[in-house]
């Protein structure tokens, strides 16, 4: 352990490294992902889609290795598989209980395909590792353009759909009776989520995706239940995690994924601790209901 930790070394030239072009790409790319992921987090949680989000990231794995196999951009392979997988989950699992099973099954199949493609493409271990754990430092100019387009699509679509989507997410039965196209909104949401995950996978990787999609929104939800504020706080937390993670990783020359995830989780733990204590005090101090004094 000590010997392994000896490999961690403070980089005295970290400020210069931060100004290099590949870190500029990492900063811009990571920020774009943080915006999209932070915005969608509220819906992932209220729609109980966390497992589906996790699964979509895994479903992207064969997309990425398959893309290497046939020689097309990894982002394209990821996008095709994520969107396709999202639609499949949507078709097979209309009810939450069905969705759990459909998601689990599709997830397993996708992971198996990913292993097969990786083997067929004779992708080396580092390629596979970068799909599983992300490689923010390898974001290219071309990828930045795609990230920009995806994030713009997510932001603009959400601007139009936000209100009915909140209604359909927290209160689907009444929303449907009210004439809100609940099912169509569900499909649109899955596509937005798939696009976001396509990007996030390249930043934090398949296995660490929650840190950008779910954790910032979960942290924000401890502080407020107002959807717009949740989205704003979640975006802020995701951005802070990406930026802080990049700086820290540059300082010690270790993968940014670890630091991004750690910062997001740290914020969640701090808020959990603070709001938990405050919540208990508030319950003790204020009668919950005038009709039912406790």
């Amino acid at each position: 352990m000590i010997a392994a930790l000896a490999g961690v070394e403070f980089q005295s030239n970290w400020l210069q490294v931060l100004q290099s072009p590949f870190l500029r790409n990492a900063l811009v790319g990571g920020s774009l992902v943080a915006i999209a992921a932070g915005l969608l987090g509220y819906f992932v949680i209220t729609r109980q889609n966390a497992f589906a989000a996790h699964a979509l990231a895994h479903i992207g794995f064969p997309g990425a290795t398959g893309a290497i196999l046939v020689g097309v951009p990894v982002t394209l392979g990821l996008a095709v598989f994520c969107v396709g997988g999202g639609l499949l989950i949507g078709v097979f699992g209309r009810r939450v209980a069905d969705r759990e099973m459909a998601t689990g099954t599709i997830l397993a199949l996708a992971t198996a395909l990913g292993v097969l493609f990786a083997s067929l493409a004779s992708a080396n271990a580092s390629t596979t590792t970068s799909v599983l754990f992300g490689n923010l430092l390898a974001v290219s100019d071309d990828q930045l353009v795609i990230f920009g387009a995806f994030t713009a699509a997510v932001v603009l679509t959400l601007a139009v759909l936000a209100r009915p989507l909140v209604f359909a997410s927290v209160d689907p039965a009444v929303a449907e009776a009210r004439g809100v196209p609940v099912r169509a909104l569900g499909v649109a949401f899955v596509v937005l989520l798939a696009l976001t995950i396509t990007m996030a996978v390249q930043v934090v990787g398949t296995l660490l995706l929650f840190a950008l999609v779910v954790t910032p929104a979960a942290t924000a939800l401890r502080l407020t239940a107002r959807p717009v504020r949740v989205a704003a706080i979640a975006v802020g937390l995701a951005l802070a995690s990406v930026w802080g993670g990049l700086v820290l990783s540059t300082m010690v020359n270790l993968p940014p994924s670890f630091f991004i995830v750690s910062l997001a989780v740290l914020a969640w733990l701090v808020v959990l601790g603070v709001s938990g204590r405050r919540g208990r005090v508030a319950v003790a101090a204020v009668p919950v209901d005038r009709h039912h004094p406790h």
């Binding site: 009915p164 927290v170 209160d171 039965a173 009444v174 929303a175 009210r178 004439g179 239940a225 009709h291």
Partner: protein
């Protein structure tokens, strides 16, 4: 009315008059919720004709307020009461236009009418069952619905909360002349406000005034188990399970024969 290849019920012809407070009763699985889904335009009848408020049912009819069954169980942490009621008014609107002052006033008014203004800023998950039901009703009336459909609004509520919700329904009916239809498996708490009932008997819906429905023979047939009807000296009406211990019954029979 058929659903999933099975006929839920058939041959029902009835008219609910505007301003009535109607109990929709019948045993589990009789199709009470299905009746609501027809009225809401979420299901189409396999044959026959329905009119709601003078027009064929259609999804998204703003003149109908709806409180589904187990409503509150599905909602949790992530929404404040006030925001939920606001969605009843503006939730179908696409685009970024913010809630107007007039709309906020309408939401406040709905919250006040159900007595939920005090806890409007709280999350749904922080409220008691009775409080959540009030918010659900506020959401249903916020758009000035003329017809309220409530599916088991008293389920999982204690006696006091049941009475408060029933009193609230009575107030809404009196102040606004709202027509109310309530699905309920237990008639008793609602009897003070009900004017009519729709009962699903042997696969057919029937409609009558409440006094004609609350009869021992009819209710016993309807629920497939002995039901007694008691009228107190004060004029209060209530039903009770009339099941008797067999030994008891034999004694009664002997006495009757003697």
């Amino acid at each position: 009315m058929a659903r999933g290849g099975q006929t839920v019920w058939s041959d029902g012809t009835f008219t609910v008059r505007p301003g009535a407070v109607v109990g929709v009763i019948g045993p589990n699985g009789a199709g009470k919720t299905t009746l609501f889904q027809l009225a809401l335009g979420l299901l189409a009848p396999s044959s026959g004709r329905i009119e709601v408020l003078g027009a064929p049912p259609r999804r998204g009819n703003r003149r109908i307020g709806y409180v589904p069954q187990n409503y509150t169980a599905a909602l949790g942490e992530a929404i404040r009461c006030r925001d939920l009621v606001t969605l009843g008014l503006t939730g179908g609107r696409f685009g970024l236009r913010p809630t107007s002052a007039a709309e906020r006033a309408q939401v406040d008014d709905a919250l006040r009418r159900v007595g939920a203004l005090d806890f409007a800023e709280r999350r749904m998950s922080e409220l008691s069952g009775g409080q959540q039901q009030r918010v659900a009703i506020a959401q249903a009336i916020v758009d000035d619905a003329e017809l309220l459909l409530l599916d088991e609004p008293l389920a999982n509520l204690d006696l006091r909360n049941q009475q408060e919700i029933v009193r609230l329904l009575g107030d809404l009916h009196r102040d606004r002349d709202v027509t109310i239809m309530v699905v309920a498996h237990d008639l008793n708490p609602l009897l003070p406000v009900l004017t009519d009932a729709v009962y699903l008997l042997d696969g057919h819906p029937h409609h009558d005034e409440i006094g004609e429905v609350v009869q021992e023979e009819l209710l016993t047939h309807l629920y497939g188990t002995p039901v007694g009807v008691v009228r107190t000296a004060q004029g209060d009406l209530f039903t009770r399970a009339a099941w008797r211990d067999p030994v008891h019954q034999q004694e009664n029979a002997r006495e009757a024969g003697a």
